[in-house]
């Protein structure tokens, strides 16, 4: 046994859900016998006949269908082939699914899987990070697993929630990230985790950037700095208690994300900490995001577009020297 990858965990979670809950079905492009563009549903159509469906290239209708099915008591999991394409489904997600509980009193338990984030060579339309967009809207839960075990357990937990969940899975982690097993620590959705303890500065981040932050923290350790990394796990709800507790220990905050820099999750973190934890801060809180251009195609440009251990170290040194 060579271990479980992040994508294995996503596949296994769906297998568990299909096995344990007759209300679950999978709907998406190329996910049936082909097993999905990333093989997240490999073998599931054979194992669960009439539960895993290929669908037309109609992202709007995919979510519309899911909401209708949820009204009828089902728990659909929709695979967007790439997070970027969920822009076509935006209306159904934010206006149909997200408003439904508030308007009618009936929650809509759908889970939308968004293969998110950049990988080398993927370019502007297969690399986007949409969590900030969806988190902006009331009525959605937005989760961003960074570990193999979270990939598994948070998908299972997402489907069990009665509300619509945007499950942002990072493509860069699919095959690169491995664990011995999917055994988890039982944290519920909405609770962050200290991914690496420290005392001089706090990096609050999520998804693939957790690993880049830990790398940066390891490098700064050589200079005697102990950096704490908070893995948010879900960006909505945002676990402000864990963030503030960490900032209380370190006095310094860097909010780190892979999404575009205007607004978004990192801006929300800085705003919340400034509002509620201003007295805890020994330095102005910092943000580090991708650059304010579309995600470029060439690996050299791409690597300089997103935050890297180097740019994270630079940001932390600036923060620590204040």
């Amino acid at each position: 046994m060579s271990g479980v990858t992040y994508i294995d965990a996503i596949r296994e979670a769906q297998e568990t859900l299909l096995r344990e809950d007759p209300r679950v079905f999978l709907y998406g492009q190329d996910i049936s016998n082909f097993g999905g563009a990333f093989k997240a549903t490999k073998g599931l159509a054979e194992a669960f006949p009439n539960r895993v469906f290929d669908c037309p290239i109609s992202e709007d209708a995919m979510i519309g269908l899911a909401v209708g099915a949820a009204i009828e008591g089902m728990r659909p999991i929709i695979e967007m082939q790439f997070a970027d394409f969920s822009s076509i489904a935006f209306n159904q997600i934010v206006n149909q699914a997200a408003t439904h509980y508030y308007r009618t009193g009936m929650p809509i338990p759908i889970t939308v899987r968004l293969p998110s984030g950049g990988t080398p060579g993927s370019g502007p339309f297969h690399s986007q990070s949409m969590e900030g967009i969806y988190a902006h809207y009331p009525g959605l839960v937005v989760v961003t697993p960074a570990t193999v075990s979270d990939a598994y357990h948070m998908l299972v937990d997402s489907v069990k929630l009665d509300d619509p969940v945007i499950y942002c899975e990072h493509k860069f982690l699919y095959r690169w990230l491995k664990a011995k097993s999917i055994k988890g620590d039982g944290l519920p959705i909405g609770q962050a985790r200290i991914a690496r303890p420290g005392k001089h500065a706090t990096v609050v981040t999520y998804s693939a950037m957790v690993h880049e932050a830990v790398r940066a923290a390891d490098r700064l350790q050589a200079d005697g700095w102990e950096i704490e990394v908070v893995d948010l796990r879900s960006v909505k709800p945002l676990d402000l208690d864990t963030i503030l507790a960490s900032v209380a220990r370190t006095g310094r905050l860097l909010a780190l994300g892979e999404a575009f820099p205007w607004g978004g999750v990192t801006a929300e973190i800085v705003a919340k900490v400034t509002e509620e934890g201003f007295h805890l801060l020994d330095a102005p809180p910092q943000r580090l995001n991708a650059r304010d251009t579309p995600v470029p195609y060439h690996p050299k440009l791409w690597a300089a577009h997103r935050p890297t251990p180097e740019s994270i170290c630079d940001a932390l040194r600036k923060l620590l020297s204040f």
Partner: protein, 342 residues
Amino acid sequence: MLITEENAYINEVSHEGDFLRRTFRAMLRARILENKLSSLYKAGKIVGGVYLGKGQEAISATLGASLIQGKDCFAPLIRDQAGRTAFGEPLIDCTRTYLGSVKGPMRGRDGNIHRGRPEMGMPAMISHLGAQVPLIAGMLFAKRLKGTLDGCVGATTVGDGATSTGAFHEGLNMAAVEKLPMVVVVANNQFAYSTPNSRQFACADLVERAAGYGIGGFSVDGTDLIACASVVGEAVRRARAGGGPQMVVAHLLRLGGHGEHDDGSYVPDSAKHDHYGRDCIEVAIQQLVEGGYAIVEEITAWQDEASEEVQRAVAQAQQEPVPDPYREDWSALSTRFPLHAQ
């Protein structure tokens, strides 16, 4: 909850006359209710918009009356008061929603035509046109997975404007691919807000689209109750019998503005004096009387009954409490975070 006395005998509809009488009474109740809504709006008693189905009652009511509440599903749109009434929505749901009563299905959180009872098979529309097409497909898809689809139909209505949206296309194509028993009624009322058909589509008749989707297509005079009953009835029968999605395009004219804030002055007189400019209620009365389906005295009695019912529904909603922002549960999620570790 939605089952009304009128609705109760839907199961024994076999006689054309029964169907026409029942459908017409829904048309009449809707028209009288909507006239009252218009007055209330003009008197400043309704906040927000008022959107009427004047001129569309025949096509809307025949669809609602062809469906079985409790078994079928129906996603009405902006001009479907008659269809809602025929399907079994009580008038009080309408007046409560327009007047903001907390006892209404939307509890003041949404208003006017943005109401529904999804648990009873009638989802609440959103304003984005075409969006209910895949939603109804999803309800039917779920029934298939649950093994309860047999003999069911799902229906929704759109206007000419919605046929230009991506959602309409995606939803109808998906329903066709999934071979779902769905009926989509397109009420071509010639104007999408102020935009005439000539700036909306370029085909001769929107029903031509049906061939492109590989689904059944019907074109009908939407001002003619008997024609609507026959065509919508056939479309619903075909869908119910497993014939896949059916599209019905009804030709008519919106007899008013987009909403009561709009006088519709851009609608040319030629359209108003055209065949489709006639009032389907007047046509229906003539058809019922001439066909021997009803007598004038009976229709007058139905009218009086409906007027009283509308008065009661308005009076009741007006005396009910409106939402209290201090007691409002300001939560868009049913899950109450934080959750606790297992």
